[in-house]
Amino acid sequence: MARARSLPPKLSRRTFIQRLTFFGGGVVLLGGAACKRSKEAEAPKPAEPTGTTAAGQTLRTFSAFEYAVVAAATERLLPRDEDPGAQDADVALYIDHILETQGLESMHRDFLQGLSALERRAQRMFQKGFAQATPAQQDELLAIFKDSPAGSGEAHFFELLMTLSLEGFLGDPSYGGNKGRVGWRLMGFDTVGTLAMAPPEGYDGPRCLRECGGHHP
């Protein structure tokens, strides 16, 4: 299928998702490898909410429309079957919140650009929005993005979507995802004594992300 419009070239970067070989551990950082920090400081984000979900949750990054697309896409990556899926875990809400993190401005921009490219492609292929397409159509389109050449905007967006979905499914619930710890249960994070080591009730991951290490003695 001919591509009427490809993503802008600044999206054509290799996604940076790398394992650093820690002993016995995987430390993975995520973002755009070739991202150059723009010369001017990023414009401050609007503090006001951008919309609400159908369930009434306040959105910080996405419009209600964008949220619906993200919710539909993440549910195809992690569909509900005999076990809970992305929507059960509030994965899209996690992505909405995490993209507001300071330092992730370029990821925020890349994600929104990739999202509108996904929506445009759905309109072109199916004459309807991504959220209104059938699950089979959604899978077809996501597979096109996934299989796009490494370094393309489509492949970059798919990697961002997948990685953030897995963070939202399997990260600490205080970030807004992994609701009811359904992701941890699916991966058996509670079977080897690990769940007991997870942060305690009341822990606020997003706050630590903002303030971590501010304690100078």
Binding site: G25, K146, D147, A150, L186, V192
Partner: protein, 550 residues
């Protein structure tokens, strides 16, 4: 604007910088430690994978402070955060797993042992194992190491037992012992920089499942943050300044180091004068600091008149495999599979040096066995894969369910990383970090013998795994490098034309400049080097205290 002068200014607070700070402080010298990262407290160490492992808690973000990495001189540089260890007080020792091996006598005379190796700049050390051994004892005692020495064909001599008994291990350790013995090999207990009993006011290990890559909230991990730094500060002579990024080391008219210029936590440039200046910022970052410290006296970088700063960069050769045990299938026969004990602590060193080169190498290395890291996001990203081989949807969830039903035993290889003329670090003036400082640029040009050795060791490890009769064995790779283990770049030696530092880690060209991290090592050895870096720092500290006291 210059701050009051001190006796010693140390850049970095990890395995290289902290022992010096402690010993110099004890001896009564005024010390300032500049640390670019934060000073975490135990309460900052929570088992939150997103915070700890996926953002800039330890590692800088690659678009703020990249390293440039390329394969070969003709390769294209990629921005990466590879070859950072950690940005915090305590450095890489804070999140390490703490595999505290010693080098072996052969590692100090590899050139003599192997003879000339075409394509490699392998060199003997100017000191022997026997000269470093007392400082291994000292480092083990000060940091707190748990282990058990057993007889072995390549066992290095020790003056006595470890300061602490070995940590409790998972029952699979005795299965590995049996498998190795069945092949005539010797499974060894892996010594750990984790205290198994209360020690010097610190609480023992709580056997949590999330150890390596996390900071330890109980302080049982023998990071310099938990062990040496508090004692150094308690001397009243050592000030640790977090959030301070060293930009350059300045020299006076005589070519002596006079001060460190750094950006403080508010981004304000400060100048800290000192009688002695010590770079302890990791092999890559110390070389970067020297190369960025240009002057009319040292136009190519401080102490770099012979052009060797940044050369002979070494990492550790990496390879590994994983054995998957399906719990539902195997639990009845092997009830121990579901035992939650986190430590395996078994190593194999029967192939440390080979008698001949029939396999394409002579210097081999170490295999360390461990359970796969339980970080679930990390695991799931691996299960999803990427590109055309990547999966999503039901296939991904099926893999996640299979993962839940699995225990994954793996080994990692630490093999010799031979020095080559091409593997080096330089600075790239056109690429600056968020502080405006030119970044380190790394070129990898691996020696083929490294890959032969790593492959051989991975194959031996797989033989052990297969003897345990797992459901499957999956090879992770045979051609990697562990960039968190870094050495070279300012090798020490007796010949000023062929080395940057003398045997006391003092720059040949600058009499009051020392480099004390992994930079001094002409060869990296075939074990993780953290303990060696700390032991050498204690050795240099003893020399420096003697020298400064005159």
């Amino acid at each position: 604007m210059s701050l009051p002068s001190v006796d010693v200014c140390i850049v970095g607070s990890g395995a290289g910088g902290a022992p010096l700070a402690l010993e110099l402080g004890r001896a009564g010298f005024k010390v300032v430690v500049l640390e670019k990262g934060r000073h975490y407290q135990p309460k900052d160490f929570v088992h939150d994978e997103i915070l700890n492992s996926r953002r800039n808690f330890f590692m800088p973000l690659p678009w703020e402070e990249p390293h440039l990495v390329r394969q070969g001189a003709k390769g294209r540089y990629e921005r990466s955060n590879a070859a950072w260890t950690a940005n915090c007080v305590g450095g890489g020792t804070v999140h390490m797993s703490g595999f505290f091996y010693r080098l072996k006598p052969v590692d100090f005379r590899l050139r003599s042992t192997l003879g000339a190796v075409p394509g490699s700049t392998v060199a003997d050390w100017p000191i022997s194992y026997e000269e470093l051994a007392p400082f291994y004892d000292k480092a083990e005692a000060e940091l707190g190491v748990s282990g058990q020495a057993v007889p072995h064909p390549f066992a290095e001599p020790r003056s006595g037992p470890y300061p602490l008994p070995p940590l409790d291990v998972h029952p699979v350790a005795s299965e590995i012992d049996k498998a190795c013995a069945g092949m005539g090999w010797h499974a060894l207990p892996t010594a750990r920089g984790i205290i198994s009993k209360a020690y010097k006011g610190r609480s023992p290990c709580a056997y949590c499942a999330l150890c390596g890559s996390y900071g330890c909230e109980t302080g049982a991990k023998s990071s310099t943050l938990a062990s040496l730094i508090p004692n150094a500060i308690a001397t009243g002579n050592v000030e640790v300044r977090p959030g301070c990024m060293a930009r350059s080391i300045e020299v006076d008219r005589q070519g002596r180091a006079k001060s460190v210029v750094y950006l403080d936590k508010d981004g304000v440039a400060q100048e800290q004068p000192a009688k002695v200046i010590i770079a302890s910022a990791t092999a890559v970052e110390s070389a970067r600091l020297l190369l960025n410290s240009t002057s009319s006296r040292f136009p190519n970088g401080l102490a770099n008149g012979n052009g060797l700063v940044g050369k002979n960069l070494l990492f550790s050769s990496f390879g590994g495999s994983r054995a998957h045990f399906r719990v539902s299938k195997q639990k009845a026969a092997r009830p121990w599979l579901t035992d939650p004990a986190p430590f395996v602590n078994r190593s194999l060193q029967d192939f440390y040096v080979m008698p001949d080169a029939r396999h394409g190498f002579r210097k081999g290395g170490t295999l360390g066995f461990m359970w796969a890291h339980p970080n679930p996001i990390y695991a799931a990203v691996g299960l999803a894969g990427s590109g055309k081989s990547g999966v999503f949807g039901k296939e991904l969830k099926d893999r996640m369910r299979a993962y839940r039903d699995s225990r994954i035993l793996e080994f990692e290889v630490y093999a010799e990383f031979l020095p080559t003329p091409g593997t080096s670090v330089t600075v790239e003036s056109g690429v600056k970090d968020k502080y405006g400082i030119p970044v380190a640029a790394i070129t990898l040009d691996r020696h083929p013998a490294d890959f032969a050795a790593t492959r051989f060791l991975v194959e031996r490890g797989e033989e052990v795994l297969l003897r345990l009769d797992p459901d499957s064995v999956e090879r992770v790779g045979t051609q990697g490098e562990t960039t968190i283990l870094q050495h070279g770049t300012c090798r020490f030696g007796d010949d000023p034309a062929a080395s940057v530092l003398d045997k006391h880690c003092r720059a040949h060209e600058v009499p009051n400049l020392y480099v004390v991290d992994g930079s001094f090592m002409p060869t990296g050895g075939s074990v993780p080097s953290t303990l060696t870096i700390a032991a050498n720092s204690f050795r240099v500290a003893a020399h420096l205290v003697r020298t400064l006291k005159g």
